[in-house]
Subunit: 202 residues, 2 copies
Amino acid sequence: MGRHREFDVEKVLDAALCVFWRKGYEGASYADLTEAAGVERPALYSAFGNKEALFRRALDRYYERYLDFIPKSLELPTARAVAAHILYSAAELNTRYSHHTGCLGINGVLAGSDEAEPVRQALIEARAGGEAQLRERLCRAKAEGDLPETAKPDALAAFVMAVSHGMAVQAKAGFSREMLEAVAEQALSTWPAGRSTSSGPK
Amino acid sequence: MGRHREFDVEKVLDAALCVFWRKGYEGASYADLTEAAGVERPALYSAFGNKEALFRRALDRYYERYLDFIPKSLELPTARAVAAHILYSAAELNTRYSHHTGCLGINGVLAGSDEAEPVRQALIEARAGGEAQLRERLCRAKAEGDLPETAKPDALAAFVMAVSHGMAVQAKAGFSREMLEAVAEQALSTWPAGRSTSSGPK
DNA sequence: GTGTTTTAATAACGATCATTATGAAAAAGA
DNA sequence: TCTTTTTCATAATGATCGTTATTAAAACAC
C-alpha cells in the first residue's frame, strides 16, 4: 500500500558516492548531493537517513565496488604479488576518473570540524581493517617461507598502505597514472625476498 | 599616532597555525580561531585579512618553522642520507604534538567545497615545490655517481614524498612514531646504491 | 470509486558560516 | 586638554549549512 519510490536508490547512492569522493564528507553539501542525484532533499533523508548515514552507505559501497582489489589480491600466491597488485590497482583507481581522483577513504575526512569526528573514525577503522587483512596475509607468507624470517609483517603492511595513501594524495594533486606506477615500482623494489623467490633487483 | 595593537601577532599566528593543523582549512571556524588566539574576530581580519590570507600566512610559517628539515636535508652528502633524514624527520614531526598530528600540508584541504579550491591549489604547489627540490638534489646525486645510472630521480623523489604523505595520513589516524619509523626504514631498505655507497641490505 | 498510506516537492526551520558596521576605549600629536 | 587616529569589543550582516513541516500527488486495499 502506498506510493512507489520513483528513483533508483542504487543510482542515487552512486551519485552521492561520486560527490563524496570528489569533495569529501564536509565539503559535499546537500545542494551538491541533490543536484548530482537528481532527487530532492527529503528523498535523500527518507531513503538513507541523515548525511552521516548516507556517507557510511557510500563508504561501504566504495569498499565493495572499488576497493575489492584488496581482498582479491590477498589470494595471490606470493606476498610480493599481493603487494604489487594492491599498489598497481591503487595507481589505476586513483586516476581512473578525472573528476574524482584519489581515494574516497582518504579524501573523506582527514581533518575537519569536531562534528565530523565520528565519520573520521569510521574512515580510520575502515583503513585499519584493510591493513589488518594485509598484515595477516604477510604473516602467513612469513610462515610459508615466502618472506624471510627477519621480515616484519606489521611494518611491511604499514609500508604498503602508506605508499598507497601517499599515492592517493598525489593523485588528488593531479599526478598521472604513470607517475603513480613509477612510485609503486620503486616501493616494490624494496620488497624482501623469501626462500624460493628470485630476488631480482629492479 | 593612534592606539597600539594589544596582542602579539606572532603568537596569534601560531595559535591559528595549530588550529588549521588540527582541523584543516574548512574545518577550522572563526569561533575556533578566535578562541585559540584569545583575540576577537575583527582583530584577526585587521591583522591578516580574510580566512584564506590567514591560512596562507600560517602555511608559510609552517614551511619555515616545521618543514625546514627539507632544505636542511638537501645539504647532506649522500642521496640516501637525504631521503632518510626527510623520512625520519617526517615521522617525528607527524607525531610530535598529540593534539595536532599529521601534516598541515596534507590536513589542510585534500578534498573540500569548491570555495576552498584556491587553498587546495596553494597546498598542491607547496608540496610540488618540496618535491622539485628533492628531485633536483637527486639529479645532482646521479651526476655525482651517488645514485646509479639507472636511477630515476623523478620516481625516487615522488616515492619519498609519497611515503612521507602516507605517513602523515597514518599519523592522523593515530599511528605511533615507532610505527612510522618502521615504515621509513622499510622505504629506505633498498635505496639504490651508487658507485661508492655500501648498499648494505637491511 | 473511496479511503488510506506512502512518496514527491516546495519552502521553511534554527544554527552556524565568513565577513563587517558600529561605537567605545586608548594612545599619539597639537 | 582637545583632536585625531587606530584598535578593541559587541553585535549584526546575508549566505549557506543540515534537517524537517507541510502540502500535493500517486498507488494500493476495500
